[in-house]
Amino acid sequence: MKISSRELKKRAKQKLQGNYGLCVGVQLIINAIISIVLVIMLFAGLIAGILGSGSIYGLRGNMAEYIIFIAIVVVSMILMVVLVSLFTPGTLKIYLNISENKPVHISDLLYGFKNKPHKFIGLNLIIFLIAMVWSIPYYVVLVVAGITNYIPIMIVLLIITYLLLLIGVTITSLYVAQSAFIFVEAPDKGIFRCLKESVEMMKGHKGSLFYINLSFMGLVLLGYCSFGIAYLWIMPYMYATLTEYYNELKPKLIPNPEVYLCDSSYESLKNQEF
């Protein structure tokens, strides 16, 4: 890719000018919905704990209480994956429209709900499962270390497998980073085709995407300092930059191939019958 990350960021900021209201509103809606779901699940967990043993902490809880708690955690995780999977396409659609100077509406946020929602959930689930595969060695070593009472060799193995998990998840996420964009632009494509195209696109460009993601570190720290308020503006900026990156990376399609492929020489035009 010839263009620098600085140029991409400048473009993103220019495109976002005048659209911050909508983008911040979108972030606010998504965060509010996810927070409401999480708070409901938290209260459900608390009520289950209180009903189970009469105490919030449930230190002397029985097996049934433990199973209810695990079930609530699993259900909330599934709900989170589903919600994120359904809201992400809408968000990406909004940023793709902003990037292409098309009109943007808040109703675009429901794009994932209207266009094959099961496929978007499937895509995120597959990416989640691929990431989970990397964590298998870590958890196996963790269990063995627990059994052997954390002997030094197991601690070394734990660190190595943890590093493997980190590197594996990072590389996988870099490879599949563009699959959501591809899917939003063409929801008729299959899940695996999107993943394959994303991998093809990212070949030789993983470093640049990693660098762009790393360059947001300062802003992310400032977001933490503002207790998350600044994320309402930082997230649109990050999304817009990544959209610009995708637009720069995607294969440029010729809009009307006949125009380009036909012989436009003087002789051919002269011989053409009208």
Binding site: K13, Q17, W233
Partner: protein, 107 residues
């Protein structure tokens, strides 16, 4: 053709003033946040929140090669607000006032 041009030149309604750059709202927001950050720097979290927001707004307002005047002012005031916050925090910890505040009041 020449006549038309002549007529257009004579017509005062065709005069257009030089285009001015549009006011960048983010830069202005950065300045406001920076000022509020300095004012609220005596309360730890106020200065931290508004100072961070001011810096973020200043960075996001840079759509050209250089910062706007308001953005520079916002950046400086936000950094001053953050520095004041850190100094106030160190003073509070150093004098032991933080523990007393947490216990229910220093005065």
């Amino acid at each position: 053709m020449d006549q038309d041009n002549q007529m257009n030149l004579d017509n005062p309604s065709t005069y257009q003033p030089p285009l001015k750059d549009k006011q960048n709202n983010m830069a202005l927001a950065s300045l406001i946040m920076g000022i509020i950050g300095i004012v609220t720097s005596c309360c730890c979290f106020g200065g931290l929140i508004f100072g961070s927001l001011g810096i973020v707004f200043a960075l996001l307002s840079k759509t050209k090669d250089r910062f706007e005047g308001n953005a520079v002012a916002g950046l400086i005031t936000s950094i001053i607000g953050l520095v004041f916050t850190v100094i106030v925090f160190i003073l509070l910890v150093g004098t032991g006032l933080l523990d007393e505040l947490a216990a229910g009041g220093a005065f």
